[in-house]
Amino acid sequence: MTTPPLLITGADLAGAGRGDLLVADGRIVAAGPDAAAEAPGGTARTDADGLVALPGLVDLHTHLREPGREDAETVETGSRAAAAGGYTAVLAMANTTPVTDTAEAAERVLDLGRRAGYVDVHPVGAVTKGLAGAELAELGLMAASRARVRVFSDDGRCVHDARVMRRALEYVRAFDGVISQHAQDPALADGSACCHEGEHSGRLGLPGWPGVAEETVVARDVMLARHTGSRVHIAHVSTAGSVEVLRWAKAQGIAVTAEVTPHHLMLTTDLLAGYDPVYKVNPPLRPAEDVEALRAALADGTIDAVATDHAPHPRQDKEHAFADAAFGMLGLETALSVVATTMVTEGRVGWREVAQVMSHAPARIAGLAGQGQPLEPGSPATITLVDPGRRVSVDAALSQSLSRNNPWHGRELTGAVHLTMLRGQVTAREGLVWGGVA
């Protein structure tokens, strides 16, 4: 497919100063103040004055629900939401029906993603068969499949058996895989736990989910990573205690990485006071002290990445009593705005660091060669343009997702995705999705 070259003019190039980006044949061919000089005749132009150019965003943690719950989301609708949110690649979690625990299942998700064509969809493989926590899934066959699976997770469930976790960590070293752990000791926080354990859970009479149920697993797993020499990734870190453990582990040189969700960077446990299940998520919303520690950890690099844990649910799965409602909230379309609001406008990080935590680092952790590349000549033209000053009033009805469990509805955020480009093709502009690339 040939499209004319495109010159994106006047953008702040990921916090490195103003410059132009010349895009041709799906690649960046020139970047910086002098790029315009290299533009051949017939080059189209996009004025990006006042915008920030980031390498396309990469989400380490997305639930696309297909196969199994196509009433909640499909690979196509989730991909559209991802593109609208500035993402060019997502890792699709394995807790579908059937579970992504074989090479065939992984290839099927890969193919669904290619057919949709809005973002690169990389399946995450289950660590254990059927997410049951007992026997290893066919990790090596998934790695060797066309889907080239490198991230394995039983997300939604913790790999709580230390022996299974140890073997999984050891095994995936053969193909540089990583185990993404949903850290929740089921003995300390079982399936009914749905509210941060503390004064609010006490007053509301909701089953408590104490931070220590996460922290003890994080502590165990960093020691297992040290022992095995393997890479471990901690999904959706939610407490200050986990941050302390991670900081210590990184200082020891242990190969641990971690992600934080946008909602844990902003929303707090007191929102549960009205028992609205839109705020029911696992791990639960935590107190302000944890939110503060997570922001600081993201700013200082203790937490490597922002990952959405985008978890669509149809209305009927949320319109239950709080204890019975499904866990999870949407996140793909609002993640950049939340990070901009909580981290950039508050002066904690610049756009260079946003590129780091939302693109470079997640691509590196997941081993995605064509994503998270610097905005330099030779890199794929996989770019997200952000309007850093735009005020957004979130409207749940205006979503590409099939679901509406959006905790940000009605909130004002600062900073918004203007345009998303995947290998030279525009996939979304101002929240509207373009035709599929494929």
Binding site: E197, G198, E199, H200, S201, G202, R203, L204, G205, L206, G208, G274, Y275, D276, R315, Q316, D317, E319, H320, A321, F322, A323, D324
Partner: protein, 311 residues
């Protein structure tokens, strides 16, 4: 007053008004013909997602004695297992034209959620481990009758499985709003989460030692300890619990003579309360049950016969 979801929504004046109305309702209970015409033509649904013979029959009698049409519905198990959302379940009933729903549910917060969906008045008849407002009101009513005054300055100890008790949460709010001082007594494993900051904010005391608290109480409220808590390892054995936290005859003797004993029932005799204490002259257990109907009549009256609700 449109709903009764939490005692926390009520002012001191509103609580006292509910208790005063209950006094006059109580007189009706002793008449040969108990029916008042007040709620004639109004429809009340007792929607019990969780079994409760005692509370349901108490609300049912209250509605009937006020001449309302009352229907009992039971929704066994959660609606999740039936494939229907809670919202659909209650909207179906609401669509029949209901004035008031009395809701008992095993999940905390369900009555508040239902109130946000339906157009009728909602009374929380016990939600999970959250609240049981009518129980707290009848407890206050019973204690006030026996002790005199309006409970301001009185000292009430609440003892037992506090973590899992909705009676505790409503009583705490009710007694503090009325100006009583409250001490919670339980082993640390049965204290609610975040009890430290909670006690500081709301101004009540906590203790692990029942014997230290008893000499200064005006009332002691013994809460049921479910034997199934044993499997959670909340305490070692029923024997140890009875020795350390049960209201034994010896502890009964440590209480001031005027002090009263409450228990919301059903009692585990020999565990949290000895037979001597349960049947003692200071025991208000049966008075509580009797007051239950009057207090619930008062609640229904205030929600349905009050100003602006005659449409």
């Amino acid at each position: 007053m449109r709903h009764l979801l939490s005692i926390g929504d009520l002012s001191r004046e509103e609580i006292l008004e509910l208790l005063d109305t209950a006094e006059s309702m109580h007189e009706v209970q002793h008449r040969e013909v108990k029916k008042l015409p007040t709620l004639r033509g109004r429809t009340i649904i007792n929607f019990f997602f969780e079994d409760s013979t005692r509370t349901r029959s108490s609300f049912e009698l209250a509605g009937k004695w006020l001449s309302a049409d009352t229907i009992n519905l039971s929704g066994k198990g959660s609606s999740v297992s039936k494939g229907e959302s809670l919202r659909d379940t209650v909207m179906t009933i609401d669509a029949m034209g209901v004035d008031l729903m009395v809701v008992r549910h095993m999940a905390s917060g369900a009555p508040a959620q239902i109130a946000s969906w339906t157009g009728c008045s909602i009374v929380n008849a016990g939600d999970g481990t959250h609240e049981h407002p009518s129980q707290a009101l009848l407890d206050a009513y019973t204690m006030r009758r026996r002790l005199g005054g309006d409970l301001a300055g009185r000292h009430v100890a609440i003892v037992g499985d506090l973590t899992h008790s909705r009676v505790l949460r409503s009583n705490l709010l009710c007694l503090r709003t009325l100006g009583a001082s409250v001490t919670l007594v339980a082993p640390p494993t049965l204290m609610p989460s975040g009890i430290g900051p909670w006690a500081d904010t709301d101004g009540f005391g906590t203790s692990y030692e029942l014997d230290d608290v008893l000499p200064t109480v005006d009332a002691v409220m013994m809460l049921r300890v479910q034997r199934e808590r044993m499997s959670g390892g909340f305490f070692p054995t029923p024997r140890e619990y009875a020795v350390r936290y049960g209201l034994t005859p010896a502890r009964l003797a440590r209480m001031p003579e005027h002090a009263v004993i409450c228990h919301p029932g059903p009692m585990n005799r020999g565990l949290e309360i000895s037979a001597d204490a349960a049947d003692a002259a200071q025991s208000l257990v049966l008075d509580q049950v009797s007051a239950g109907v009057a207090v619930r009549m008062s609640i229904l009256y205030h929600l349905l016969a009050g100003e602006g609700s005659t449409s």
